[in-house]
């Protein structure tokens, strides 16, 4: 365990707040826009205090219209600004879908490189918070399918602090998926050392028998599963994707070459998902290393259920371990 004195224990929401504050301070072209992000600080308080510090021109409470938020952010980017849009909840992003997929994702290409689209779209996503319909979804796959976008998702406060700044510094559109169930648990944040590159995946626990891959809130579930498996004599390696598009396959393929078994886990429904894509790629590229079929653990292919049933819908450590058992049976 590190004994660095630069480490602060912060919840992810406050780490993001610190990262946004740093980005606003570093570059006068950065501005935040979204619903309720001003005096309220956003429904999750991620932007708390930032309007008071940087003013209403740089932390903009917008009208309540997602297409309008993304569409005007595109215009601001054409003018040389670096807008960071907050979508209030995962399930509210769809009114902005056309502006994201038909305009934001394609404008750099349409313009032949004459201009960039440095827009970040922050999306609090995922379940485990007991909320009503449209407030617990994982819509990554819709956007991962769209060329021109980059998708990332931090799993720790430290990654959240650094990755939001890296996303804002990127000249491409970045969709920043924030695992909202991880907003509150505290973790160490190192304010002095820069983090890994934005699109690098990372091995967060080493093991020799089976590889688990996931992103966002799923990473803590995988670590929990790995701990249980350890007690049962199964050595589990865990890879935190961090980037969903592009996927950094290096650490994943290195790991599965070593373990010969892999389980890909996610909260999202499984059909045509990020997990499906990773499973297919591992099967193509690591075929001769595999001792067992590539397995997937996902949310069911149903609408996200009412909150009292969410624990049955969302993969937990037991669901992951069930897949680990199946992989180990080969």
């Amino acid at each position: 365990m590190s004994t660095e004195t630069t480490l602060d224990e912060l919840p992810m929401a406050k780490a993001l707040n610190a990262g946004l504050r740093q980005a606003l301070a570093d570059d006068p072209k950065v501005l935040l826009m979204g619903e309720d992000i001003g005096p309220l600080g956003g429904v999750f308080r991620v932007t708390e205090g930032l309007q008071a510090e940087f003013g209403k021109e740089r932390v903009v409470d917008t009208p309540l219209a997602e297409s309008g938020i993304i569409g005007t952010a595109i215009g601001l980017a054409l003018r040389g600004y670096r807008p960071v849009c907050e979508i209030q909840f995962d399930g509210f992003i769809y009114p902005g879908f056309d502006q994201i997929t038909s305009q934001l994702a394609k404008l750099t290409n349409r313009g032949g490189g004459a201009f960039s689209m440095p827009v970040v779209i922050r999306v609090p996503y995922g379940g485990h918070i007991g909320a009503v319909e449209h407030h617990q979804e994982s819509p990554e796959a819709y956007f991962a399918h769209t060329p021109g976008l980059r998708l990332v998702s931090p799993s720790t406060p430290n990654d959240a602090y650094w990755m939001i700044q890296e996303a804002i510094a990127s000249n491409d559109p970045v969709m920043f998926f924030e695992p909202k169930s991880r907003y509150w648990p505290k973790g160490p944040v190192d304010f002095t050392a820069s983090a890994a590159p934005l699109h690098a995946s990372r091995i967060v626990r080493t093991g020799t028998d089976v590889t688990l891959v996931g992103h966002g809130a799923m990473v803590s579930v995988l670590l929990q599963a790995a701990e249980v498996a350890q007690g049962e004599g199964v050595s589990v390696e865990v890879v935190d994707l961090r980037s969903l598009s592009p996927v950094d396959y290096g650490p994943i393929l290195d790991s599965v070459t070593k373990t010969g078994r892999i389980v890909v886990a996610q909260e999202a429904s499984g059909f045509v998902s990020v997990g499906s894509e990773i499973a297919a790629t591992v099967a193509e590229r690591a075929f001769y290393s595999l001792e067992a079929p590539v397995l997937r653990v996902s949310g069911f292919d149903t609408p996200f259920p009412p909150a009292k049933l969410e624990t049955l819908f969302l993969p937990d450590a037991d669901r992951v371990l069930e897949a680990v058992d199946r992989a180990m049976a080969y």
Binding site: G71, T72, A73, Q103, F115
Partner: protein, 382 residues
């Protein structure tokens, strides 16, 4: 804000008879003289001939699609000349005349519709007059125009009082677009931030085959008022009305007085695109009525009443022919784009997937190379 009657200076017959609604705009005509009127006429006539050439070239297989502008030249040329050089223009996809006035090489429109490019001109190149790219998803660009204007505000380019500095954004869309949520959201956002936007609606009465009466039961210029965006309706086939009204409201936008909505009543004399068939739906009597209100003939009659003679009109006709011939020659000389266009600029920064697929396509294509050079290399390697 009063319910102002339609603004018109020139009657369909070319007589200078301003309507009551035109009075508050009359002083803006003092900015232009006969030189400018001749320029308006010249550009309208050249673009009409360009448009005809585009249709011809499409029919001859040079383009998959053509988007005619016939009939809307008055609305486009007048408003385009009202913009100052520092203003920014966000067109839809039928604003060929606006592009010409702002200085783009309109061959780029041919290249776009031919399938050589999704863009065609660089809006960041000053020689293109801040004319942004065509936008094919109806109404989407109204929000880009609003965001751009929010940027101008933050750059301190609004309301300084310096006419060389103060800037506005002029966005064009059609009657169909007014039904899109994005246009309503553009009104909301522009009103909320009091952006320097002028939204210029060309109501050409048709959204492909659907008449404007399906889009709205009330005159469209009233649409924006509930959003807090003042508005005016003009005779869009009167280039003077288009110029004067746009000039006034761009001035007000640059001065920081917020957005404005202009509805220009005009008519799409031709088809929506070359793939359309107006004989299935268009009303002949309505068509004939609007042809009798033609913006180019109207200005010709006015210019003749001011003393302009046959020589000028013959000169413009010859120039239009030359322009069309030049477009034809350059269209026939176009070559297909390089395959790198598929992959380059999908992202601004390096992307492993795009890089890998670009290299894969090169290897794949090379694997079919049966030229002597390729086979000799194979033999040597063997």
């Amino acid at each position: 804000m009063t319910d102002s009657p339609t603004v018109r200076f020139l009657t369909a017959g070319g007589a200078f008879e301003p309507t009551p609604g035109a009075e508050e705009y009359a002083s803006y005509l003092e900015r232009i003289g006969e030189t400018e009127l001749r320029r308006f006429y010249r550009d309208m006539a050249v673009v009409r001939r360009f448009d005809q050439e585009g249709t011809n070239l499409q029919r001859q297989g040079q383009m998959a699609l053509w988007v005619p502008s016939h009939g809307q030249e008055g609305a486009q040329v007048g408003s385009a000349y009202a913009a100052r050089p520092q203003d920014h223009i966000f067109p839809s996809y039928r604003e060929h005349a606006v592009g010409l006035v702002r200085g783009i090489d309109v061959l780029a429109i041919v290249e776009l519709l031919r399938g050589n490019t999704h863009g065609g001109w660089d809006p960041t190149d000053p020689s293109n007059g801040n004319f942004h790219g065509y936008c094919l998803v109806i109404g989407s660009h109204s929000l880009h125009a609003t965001g751009y204007a929010m940027g101008l505000q933050r750059d301190g380019l609004v309301g300084t009082g310096d006419p060389e500095v103060d800037s506005a954004v002029l966005a064009y869309f059609g009657d169909g677009a007014t039904s899109q949520g994005d246009v309503s959201e553009a009104f909301v956002f522009s009103a909320s931030s009091q952006t320097p936007n002028v939204f210029f609606l060309q109501n050409n009465h048709w959204a492909i085959s659907v008449p404007v009466t399906v889009q709205s039961r009330t005159p469209l210029y009233l649409r924006s008022r509930g959003f807090g965006v003042p508005s005016v309706q003009i005779d869009g086939n009167d280039v003077l009305a288009s110029y004067a009204v746009t000039a006034k409201h761009l001035d007000e936008a640059r001065a920081g007085h917020g957005p404005q909505f202009i509805e220009a009543l005009t008519y799409r004399v031709g088809a929506h695109t070359s793939s359309d068939d107006p004989t299935k739906y268009a009303d002949q009597a309505q068509h004939d009525l609007w042809v009798s209100r033609d913006p180019i003939i109207r200005l010709e009659k006015y210019l003749r009443s001011l003393g302009e003679g046959d020589a000028f009109f013959a000169e413009v006709a010859a120039e239009a022919e030359d322009f069309a011939a030049d477009i034809r020659h350059r269209t026939l000389a176009l070559t297909p784009p390089d395959k790198a266009l598929i992959f380059d600029n999908v992202y601004s920064e390096p992307h492993p997937v795009v890089t890998e697929q670009k290299q894969w396509l090169e290897r794949y294509e090379a694997s079919f190379d049966t030229s002597p050079e390729a086979s000799s290399v194979t033999k040597e390697q063997a």
